[in-house]
Each structure stands twice: as C-alpha cells, then as structure tokens.
Symmetry: C2
Subunit: 377 residues, 2 copies
C-alpha cells in the first residue's frame, strides 16, 4: 500500500504501451503504476512516476521490484515461467500466475490444454520431423512455441522444402492446419481471484501481414448465438486455466463455427477500443482484477466503435506533431492515443478510436484517421 494515499500499488513488468495505458487507468483509481522498464525511454517509463529500470529475465530485479506491491502483473508474456514460480513461492501475488500464464507463453502447452478441455482448436501437432507437417496437409501454419508476436514466429509453409528449411533452424515448433477462415474475432474477459468474470462484447479483428490493423466492436453481423458461444468459451477458459486479470481469446470464425487461435493474458490490442468504447476500459479492468476489486461494467458506450492501429510509416515526411494538427482539423471527434515511441516502419506507435451509430462510416473515419497519422504527407 502507498502510505501517502492509502491505496494499493500494482507493479507491471515491462514498459511498453500496455503499461503506459494501464498507468493512465491507475491514475483514476488513485494509484500510480510501478513499472519495470528496460530503458527510461520506454513508452510507459516516459509517463509513470514510479519506474524501476531492469529486465524481466533478471530474477533479482523482479524480486526487488515486487517489494511493496499488492500485485505484480505483466505488459508482455516474456517473463520466464521459473521466475514467476520463484516469486510465487516467496509469497508475491503475481497475476496471471505461472500455472495460467504458461498457456499464453507456450503454444504447445496451450494447444494440449485446450484439446483436453475440448475447446475448439485447429488440427495441430508438435513438430518432431517433417512428417508431422505433411500429416496436416499443405499448406500448413507453423508457429514457434514461444516468443512470437505481431506475426513474428508464424510461418505459412507451402511445401516440404520450405518446411525442411524452417525445421533446420532448430526452433521448437507446432504446426496447424491453415484454417479456411471467414474472419478473426476476439473475446475479452477479466477474472478476479475471487472468481468473478466480466465479458466484453465480442469484436472482429482485422489483420494485415500478421499485424492487427483494425478492431470493430461489436463484431458486425455476428449471430447472437455465436457471440454468446465465444463469450462463454472465454469465460470457461479463464476459469479452467485459473487466469487472474485479462484473458483475450483470439478466434477464427469459419463456416463450421469458431476455433481458438491464440490466448493472451494481459491488456490486449483487441481491447484498446474499450478506453472510450466500453464503460470500463480493459486497463482499469485488469487492475481491478489483479487487486480483486469487483469488475466494472463492460457494455458499449456507442452502437459502433472502431479502433485502428497507427503503424510507423516510411522515415522522413512531415512530423508526427504536424500530422496530429492535420488530423484534429480533419476529424475533431477522433480519439488519439500515441505511445511516445520512435517511429519505425510497421511498428505500432499509437491507435485511434472512433465512435458512432453506423459501423460503415465509423470504420471509414477510423481508417482515415490512422492513415493520416501514419503517412501524413
């Protein structure tokens, strides 16, 4: 507890934009997020008051960081499982716990556990040799079991030759069928240690080159029964895996229904729209969950909400500050979130959210706003 305020201290490992936006939410709750950041120039470190410099692979740094925190949680999934176990053994309240987080860290374990829970998953194998791939049938999707994100660590392989090259790198892999998907969805829930689970409306996520570019809330035209099924699946998984905090279940919608693609156990890009688009943002909800506060309302604040990511464009051209001037003149209702990151091509440097009554026009506005910030010239 912070003795100056009488309110709890939450520590977040990692100084990226998720920690940045979680700090923003913490301020409303009377808190100040403690951030473990690799560099003082990281996105969250630029704005938080209580920043400790250190790396998530350093157990001593994690241990020191956790002192005085009511709860420790994560901006990413890269903290070694054994470090989390060590902290848990020492009595640190760290959420999600090692027993849950491992299913977001290791795709092989995730697939095995989901199969055991009879959750809908694509056909898959752990890859020992090339026969595991050819059994699935070409083309296949190969994934590194650990460490991938934003399209990294995922390969679509058309034939044995490409597969052999990847296997030769020695990366531990799983392989999945290339699902004939209609689109991608995400179901976001939050679960507290008490066991309360709150579910957000199911959204559509639009990917380009493996990176999420747009999120549409609620998922347009999604049949009610499928929406309820997706929410229930996320609730069941949160309970079965013992998740504390947010759980984002990334889904493929196919002709036969939904299948689970990935799990994330932290505030997630598919939930950024909740800052303005839901009564309680995912960032506040995550804090409430890890502190075992009752969950906040998850309903939409407008009939149509679209979040569009702002990706770094080509170097040069007009500055981000000038682009912001132009965007604000162009669309006074666009809600901008910039992460304070150096622009690199393809890097997520911010997002824009637009709310309204009509999904088609809201989507067009959000896409235009994101493009405006990205390219500008």
């Amino acid at each position: 507890m912070d003795t100056r305020t009488g309110l709890p201290v939450v520590g977040m490992v990692g100084g990226g934009q998720l920690a940045r936006m979680t700090h923003q939410a913490a301020i409303s709750l009377g808190q100040s997020l403690r951030v473990l950041s690799e560099s003082p120039d990281d996105s969250a470190a630029l704005v938080a008051a209580d920043v400790r410099i250190g790396t998530h692979t350093d157990l001593a740094a994690l241990r020191e960081f956790a002192k005085g925190c009511e709860a420790v949680t994560f901006d990413h999934e890269h903290v070694p499982t054994e470090h989390i176990e060590a902290l848990e053994a020492e009595g640190v309240k760290i959420f999600p716990g090692s027993g849950a987080l491992v299913f977001a860290q290791d795709k092989g374990m995730m697939r095995e556990r989901l199969a055991a829970l009879k959750a809908p998953v694509p056909r898959w194998r752990r890859v020992n040799d090339i026969s595991d791939m050819s059994e699935i049938g070409w083309p296949v999707v190969a994934k590194a079991t650990r460490g991938g994100y934003d399209g990294r660590g995922v390969w679509v392989l058309d034939d044995e030759k490409a597969a052999a090259e990847l296997i030769a790198t020695g990366t531990p892999l799983i392989v999945e069928e290339k699902v004939a998907l209609k689109r991608e969805l995400a179901a976001l829930v939050a679960r507290s240690p008490f066991g309360q689970v709150a579910a957000y409306p199911v959204v559509e996520t639009v990917q380009k080159d493996g990176i999420c570019v747009e999120v549409l809330a609620p998922a347009p035209g999604l049949p009610e029964d499928l929406a309820v099924q997706a929410q229930q699946l996320a609730i069941d998984l949160a309970n079965a895996l013992g998740v504390v905090g947010l759980l984002a279940v990334e889904l493929f919608e196919t002709d036969e229904g939904i299948v689970v693609n990935e799990l994330a156990m932290r505030p997630h890009n598919s939930g950024h729209w909740t800052i303005e688009g839901a009564r309680t943002s995912q960032f506040e909800q995550h804090l409430r969950a890890v502190l075992d506060y009752p969950m906040g309302e998850t309903s939409l604040t407008a009939p149509a909400v679209v979040m569009a990511n702002v990706l770094g464009g080509a170097p040069g051209g007009i500055s981000i500050d000038e682009r912001l001037h132009h965007l604000f003149a162009e669309d006074p209702g666009a809600r901008v979130h910039l992460y304070g990151k150096q622009v690199r091509p393809g890097r997520k440097i911010g997002h824009v959210t637009v709310l309204g009554d009509d999904m088609t026009s809201v989507r067009a506005r959000a896409a235009r706003a994101a493009r405006w910030l990205q390219e500008g010239a």
Copy 2:
C-alpha cells in the same frame, strides 16, 4: 519538444488534481506533462514522470521550469501577475497570459472589465468603507478580491456590525448584491491562440457550503435560448479577454436571466464530467488549446451525465480502499476518480461520474456513489 517522442512538452504550474488529470490526458497525446509541484506528495507529483519541486511564487523556479516547454499553463490562479509578465517578456509561451489571467485572479478587475463589456453582472462596488456595502442593501456578499476558492474568501453579511468586523481585517474587498438565484450554471469554453473557440454544453452546478458538490450535464430543463446565450457569453468573454486555454464562466440563473458570478481560466471542477461525458475531456481540450491544436468535439456521450465530488469525511472508519471495493460491488458502472490526497474533512479527494438516459436516476446513482466513498461506514 521532447526529442525522444517528437511531441511537445507542456508545463503546468501546481501539482493538484487538475494537473493530475491533465497528465492523464497528456498521455493519450503522446506527451508527458511537466509539473511544478510544492511537494513530491502532491496529487499530480504522485503520478507524473517529469516533476520539478518548487513554488509558484519563486520567479527563478518558474523560469527554470519553463525551459524546454512549448507552453506553460496553470493548475491554479495563484501565480503572481508580475511573474507571468516577466516570463512573457522573456519569450515564454504562458497561457492564459497575464493580460487575461488577471481577470480570474482579481475579482475587482474582473467586475470592472465585465461591466465595461456590458456582460450581465450583479450590482457591485469596490469596498472603501461601510457605505459601499450599505448602498448595495443588506444582506450583501463580500468577496476578497484575491485568493479565495471553494467558499473561502466569500462572506454573506447581514448587517453593519458584521461588515465592520470584516472591513477591520484590512482584506481588500468587493461587495455584491445577494442575487435571488434559481440555481447556478457554468459555461465552459476553450480558446486557442489561433482564435478557435469550442463550447461545451451548459451545466448546472450544485453547491453546498460554498463547495461544488454536483454537476449536471446538460443543465436540466434549461431553455435552449438561455443555453445559447450562456455559451455565447462565454465565447465572447474568451475572445474579449484574449483567454488561451479553458475558460469556465460560473453563472447565476435568476428570474431575469443569467449573471456572471466568477471566471476561472483552467480546467475546472464544473468540467470534470467531460472525462467520460464529452467526446473530448476538458483536460485534453486545455492541452490542445495551449498548444494551438485544433479543438476537439464537445458533444455529450450520453443524454444525462452527473459528476459528484467526493469530499473527505470524518477521520477513522473504514479505509478508502475498502470503500472502493464496496462501491464497485454496489455500482459497476460508476466511474471513479481519486486524487491520491490525504483525507481531510471537507477536502475534495476525488469525484464520481455516472452516465445514463435519465437525469433523475443518474443523479441519484452519482450521489450515492460519492456518499459511499465519503463515509462508507
């Protein structure tokens, strides 16, 4: 400019809750608010990354603070006019400028200027001796020309005896008629150096013992012509006084129309509802104004929005953290803002905002939520 982000640096003098919430808004714009705070335990200093310790009456501290800021602005009105003038002479962009701010600092000058602009004001006098008061007719409202807030520096005087006692203290005073008011309203606008002015919907403010306890947005039952008149008055005053940033015009509604009570030139308690209740919060709007960005949309996000202040209750009883647990269980849709301040009876320690379709029920929920946080036991 912050070279790490390519985005501007705004400095805010004063480390109270207004700076705290402005920092929260700055984060979305890719910025990190620089705060000049008297103590590291001040509300904003607890959450901001770029905190300088110093006092607003120290010109050297102000000068050092302003270095590298694109714009300097205020959390309160207490910076000496001559210090602002000195900084302006040195080329610091400080908003509102001394020429405007003085009308929020000095009630005598404000009344004179408003009268010259033919704005509606109560009958008033500068107080030289008791005859200035008796001319107005008992009871009168006496106000210290400088330094009052939240009911401090304001006295209702019933007779000559009470008046004589106050005059004997030597405090420079103005005196006004005690207006037969139906209720209090506030018109909030923001103006940029370019001259763009954005107006928020006119709200009703409910006071108790001179402290604002509730704000209802929009002001229930306010005739459209009176709402437009109040907005136009605020726009005209912002232009005439050359305000840059926010201007809150506190108004009395009487049987004869509206009269101006007070002016504030900063984010204002009557605008806290805008965080969730308007497309652009007053805090972001203030930043956009002082940086000469185009203004954001000011429309309501729900038909009825109520902000209720949380005042410190009697010492003892259950802790603020426990009260928060109870409130979140009681009303999952209440939006809480705690300022990280030590509880003292009557001190504003936070606020709660509730949104909905029906003003009566929204107001009841907001009042209950604020009471819950205040007393709890």
